[in-house]
């Protein structure tokens, strides 16, 4: 059973076809990685799945339901979680409040006007549990704007997790992280992938080989190779397009 299915997604900007009939499926307990050189259209694809951009043709299915025409917030409500390539946290909110707000989105109506939200114990407990999971609990009370870059990457993930997603879109979660931090985040994701299916865009090959079941190689908007990490590593097309570049 596929949780996330993308069918023939096509998008054109002017004369440039940035997505050429891309199809892929992410099943339960699966981590599907997407690699490709810069400008291959990876983030454009994520934007179409999450609703920032509307595809010209094709469909996005979440848990069997067509969500192609839904606005971003409805996709999130339906269970699509995502992280951003460039950290997108609420700087004037505390770390805890960032995560509690994400939990709030899935905990009944937010059209509540009188009771202070910051003291809602159920939301805070949920948020603390998620922060503990990504190792940010001791930073819960400080402002998100005061976090280090690495910590903000973890907060990104925590916000996505607090929404109890059915599937996670991770847009270069390791971007800008040092080796130690990358390894820590990979450890966390390795644990998560048993629970939440993921579509992972990443340049960090170590992370991909540790996490992914399937790797698709995207070049100029089209999938040119697909397989297990080892198969892709051995694939001459993929090597030429991408892996070769890295080792060169």
């Amino acid at each position: 059973m596929s949780i996330l299915e993308i069918r023939n997604l096509t998008k054109t900007f002017g004369a440039v076809r940035v997505s050429k009939e891309i199809s892929l499926t992410v099943g339960a307990r699966q981590c599907h990685a997407l690699i490709g050189p810069n400008g291959a259209g990876k983030t454009t694809l994520i934007h179409q799945i999450s609703g920032v951009l509307t595809p010209d043709a094709g469909a996005v299915l979440l848990d069997g339901t067509d969500i192609t025409a839904l606005p971003m917030w409805r996709r999130a409500q339906a269970g699509l979680g995502r992280t951003f390539q460039i950290s997108s946290t609420l700087h004037s909110f505390s770390v805890l409040e960032n995560v509690a707000l994400a939990a709030q989105a899935k905990a009944g109506s937010s059209m509540r006007f009188f009771r202070p939200a910051a003291t809602e114990a159920a939301l805070n407990r949920q948020a603390e549990a998620v922060l503990d999971r990504v190792g940010l609990l001791r930073r819960a009370r400080i402002l998100a704007g005061d976090l280090s870059h690495g910590e903000r990457r973890l907060l990104e993930l925590a916000i996505a997790l607090a929404g109890a997603p059915k599937v996670l879109l991770l847009d270069e979660p390791m971007a800008g992280l040092g080796r130690v931090e990358s390894e820590r985040l990979t450890d966390i994701l390795a644990e998560l992938r048993r629970e939440i299916p993921m579509l992972l865009i990443e340049h960090d090959m170590d992370a991909i080989f540790r996490l992914a079941d399937t790797v698709a190689v995207l070049v100029e908007g089209a999938v040119v190779a697909r397989g297990t990490p080892d198969e892709v590593r051995a694939d001459p097309v993929a090597r030429a397009a991408y892996l070769g570049e890295e080792s060169a």
């Binding site: 999450s50 609703g51 920032v52 606005p71 971003m72 917030w73 409805r74 999130a76 409500q77 995502r82 951003f84 997108s88 946290t89 609420l90 700087h91 004037s92 909110f93 409040e97 707000l101 994400a102 709030q104 989105a105 899935k106 109506s109 937010s110 059209m111 509540r112 006007f113 009188f114 009771r115 202070p116 939200a117 910051a118 809602e120 916000i159 929404g163």
Partner: protein
């Protein structure tokens, strides 16, 4: 630090409560009229702060709702409705509906475009009011009878309208803060800081902003209704865009998005205009630079001078 702003507000409310008695005893009773003016401005500005400070939606059409409230009172009285609570309900309904329709259109945009569209809707309301020939048109209308509270004159100048306005001021102050701290307010602030993030969390930014716009419009109409009742006069001038601008100035001078900014700003603006006006006829020459000075030297507005650390939206 939150206690500090509570203390400041409590102190101001206490002073406002005893002010009429003190001013009366010292033979300066005319000043209570100015205090009422400041309180009514503060109520409208607090509502506007929900949009600007908490929501990041800069509106130049807020005074339209003040005008609506005032004209509901005038037209309602002319139609024979005297109960102020009934008039209040009508004002809330009319302002709420106007906000719902205009807000739904204006919120298709943001930033400068939102400002321009709210300005356009505000001007529409203003010109509609000037065209009400039966109710004074351009010149406005003197109210020969006033609204009553269950037949009593409590809510009139002859009674205790000062206390009624003070009570509404305190209630609005409480309500706006409460909304800011609620689930709703948290989403509103998140959408202000980062709308895409709020949407990706699963919140319809449009719906929350529209709800805030309706609430702010309704509160402003209460200020308008009381302004008409207190002035015993209505005029389209209440709904001019300059009046919307005044409300924004009050917020910026007082401290945008802070708990007491609207209150401090309104008192300061009214006091400054009056004091300068009493000294020299060209008072605006000083008033302008004074505002610039406050904005430059008291970053976070007057609120941050009195209660440092409580500046900034959401506190």
């Amino acid at each position: 630090m939150r206690d500090r702003s509570l203390l400041v507000a409590g102190g101001i409310f206490a002073l406002l409560l005893i002010a009429p008695g003190v001013l009366d005893a010292t033979g300066q009773a005319y000043l209570t009229g100015l205090l009422m003016k400041a309180m009514l401005l503060a109520i409208a500005a607090m509502a506007l702060d929900l949009l600007v400070g908490q929501g990041g939606m800069i509106s130049l059409g807020h005074s339209a709702f003040v005008g609506i409230g005032a004209y509901v009172l005038a037209i309602g009285l002319a139609a024979g409705i005297e109960n102020i609570l009934v008039l209040l309900a009508i004002a809330l309904a009319v302002a709420g509906s106007f906000a719902l329709v205009t807000g739904a259109l204006a919120l298709r945009t943001s930033g400068v475009y939102f400002l321009m569209i709210t300005l356009a809707f505000g001007q529409m309301a203003y010109f509609t009011l000037t065209s009400l020939a039966a109710y004074g048109g351009d010149d406005g209308l003197t109210l020969w009878s006033l609204a009553t509270l269950f037949g009593s004159n409590v809510a009139q100048n002859a009674g205790h309208i000062y206390l009624v306005i003070l009570a509404v001021l305190v209630a609005t102050w409480w309500l706006v803060h409460r909304i800011g701290q609620s689930r709703f307010g948290r989403v509103l602030r998140a959408a202000r800081d980062n709308p895409e993030r709020a949407a990706v969390m699963g919140f319809s930014v449009f719906r929350y902003r529209l709800t805030a716009y309706v609430i702010a419009g309704m509160i402003a109409s209460v200020a308008g209704l009381l302004t008409a009742q207190q002035n015993e006069f209505v005029s389209p001038a209440l709904a001019t865009w300059q009046h919307s601008g005044d409300l924004l100035v009050i917020l910026v001078v007082g401290g945008l998005g802070s708990r007491n900014g609207a209150l401090l700003g309104a008192l300061f603006i009214v006091a400054a205009q009056e004091a300068l006006g009493a000294v020299l006829p060209e008072w605006r020459l000083i008033y302008g630079p004074l505002l610039v000075g406050v904005v430059l030297f008291a970053k976070g507005g007057l609120n941050s001078l009195l209660a440092p650390g409580t500046a900034g939206p959401g506190r």
